[in-house]
Symmetry: C2
Subunit: 304 residues, 2 copies
């Protein structure tokens, strides 16, 4: 193989991967080479642009730490994350719709008892959350593991301000009770910009895009025999519902964060001040036989 | 914009970039989104594979340092670097053919006088290099700046072993004399594997590809009014000429590294032992009017 030009190099590169032992890996790299080369040919990429791309990817990599995942942000703002989500959740039936994991999920978040207030030192309007977890056929999923995480009233997650907060906050794992129900207290999250002080923020800025996501609470819900559900519930009164920077909004995931006066809440706890109430019921799809994956893997692992 | 699925998300993402002020950037990101999404759809990318890709890119970024450019290696083994090179060097006429810059170019290499031995503490069979630089019409390019760099007899560059060598070696800048001629001494480089202890090496290993490049000497030659030439000269007797890991070999760039007995070389210097002789003549293309780029930018900047 010698003397490659733009007409024959793609076939040569594909041929170089023809000995890949794993057929699926061979299929993926072959397709990647075709699409990458077609992109370069389509735009007649210059050396300066190639250098800019190398530099952009390098800076994106250097921005990644244990608590910052710039490549997930890049995948999110290019719509790639939502596309992968869509491809892997065709025909959801009556199950709750899915959306992106985002870059702020933390594995092994602290377990709280039902009814706990998980806001820690986060500030914001009190939020009372109630809900349930059931299978597509309506059967309650007792003991379902419910990971929840959300931003504060400034639009920041705990992992973005962990020293100020003295630890995790606005984040917990609960287990649904025998009726599949759960409830907890926290604070109302605000809409927020995705972290835009890195290369992805520069891309958004250069392309005239805003970095904002409408206010939402993340849920990751797992139950035996069911696909793990990764989704958000968006606040119906939030800004940016129609131009989410990561393309994650679905109408079925928008819910009222209803205004309630001070007084005794549904769980018997006394609210000293007015609060908001979110009530949402989650349906989980039964696992496919032999399914190898049920959702995106986590990416933040905090030091012990 | 809400409720995206695999059929409508690509248009939505393209639309989000429609306000990009710079038309070229808008063109590039639009094409990128189309090809990235088509790739994901073509292979029906799973969550596990998406996570693997995020992790691969992150590790590739973390591998990049001042003297290691893993994203260039990735571009090289996917044939993207040679494709960009081919697109930007159509119809070379009688000019010397180009090939990849590679990851080991160093900006501001030390200037040596013609005839110098640049091998430093590198070991290997002595190599005498003679050549000339001329324009496409045969006019000698007096004073042309000639950057040269190559590996040692173990296949390693100076920047991969800088402490052992006590500094740069097998690397220099020369200026051609009034006839456009140059000559210098060094040692014969060996074929070598591209650095394969990182993610790119893992990719090659998983796909059954070897990491080797045939033995070569890099040249980057600049002269006023001409496009900067980025190329290699490959040793005709090297292994791997037909399966270069980065697809860079062209027949016109292969030359004899001729065996010579000990004695007085062409430049009057006495060789105490047998040596090899490479003689190569470079033709530079006249610059296009208003050309914005003449070759890939450098990526290694050593600390002062």
């Amino acid at each position: 193989m010698r003397d490659f030009d733009e007409t024959n190099i793609t076939d040569a590169v594909v041929e170089s991967f023809s000995g890949t032992p794993d057929p699926r890996l061979r299929q993926v790299v072959t397709s990647l080479v075709h699409h990458l080369h077609d992109f370069i040919r389509d735009v007649d990429l210059t050396f300066d642009e190639w250098s800019t791309a190398i530099d952009f990817l390098t800076r994106t990599g250097h921005m990644c730490t244990g608590t910052r995942q710039e490549f997930i942000l890049l995948s999110d703002v290019l719509g790639a994350s939502m596309l992968v989500d869509a491809i892997n959740h065709r025909m959801p039936g009556s199950a709750t719709q899915t959306t992106v994991l985002g870059p702020f999920f933390v594995e092994d978040a602290p377990v709280y008892p039902l009814g706990a207030d998980i806001s820690g030192r986060m500030t914001g309007e009190p939020l009372f959350v109630t809900g349930s977890v059931h299978s597509e056929d309506g059967r309650p999923l007792a003991g379902a593991a419910i990971d929840v995480w959300h931003a504060d009233d400034g639009g920041f997650y705990d992992v973005q301000q962990i020293e100020k907060l003295g630890g995790l906050a606005g984040r917990a794992r609960f287990y649904a009770d025998e009726r599949g129900d759960f409830h907890f207290w926290s604070i109302v999250p605000k809409f927020y910009p995705i972290p835009d002080d890195g290369p992805v923020g520069q891309l958004l800025n250069a392309t005239g895009r805003h970095p904002n996501r409408p206010a939402h609470v993340h849920f990751l819900i797992a139950a035996p025999g069911h696909e793990t559900l990764v989704t958000h519930v968006f606040a119906a009164d939030s800004e940016w519902l129609d131009s989410d920077a990561v393309f994650g909004v679905k109408n079925t995931l928008i819910a009222e964060f209803a205004h309630r006066p001070a007084g005794v809440a549904k769980d018997g706890q006394k609210a000293e001040q007015p609060y908001r109430h979110l009530d949402y019921h989650f349906g989980l799809k039964a696992s496919a036989e032999g399914a190898s994956s049920s959702g995106p893997r986590a990416t933040i692992r905090l030091p012990a």
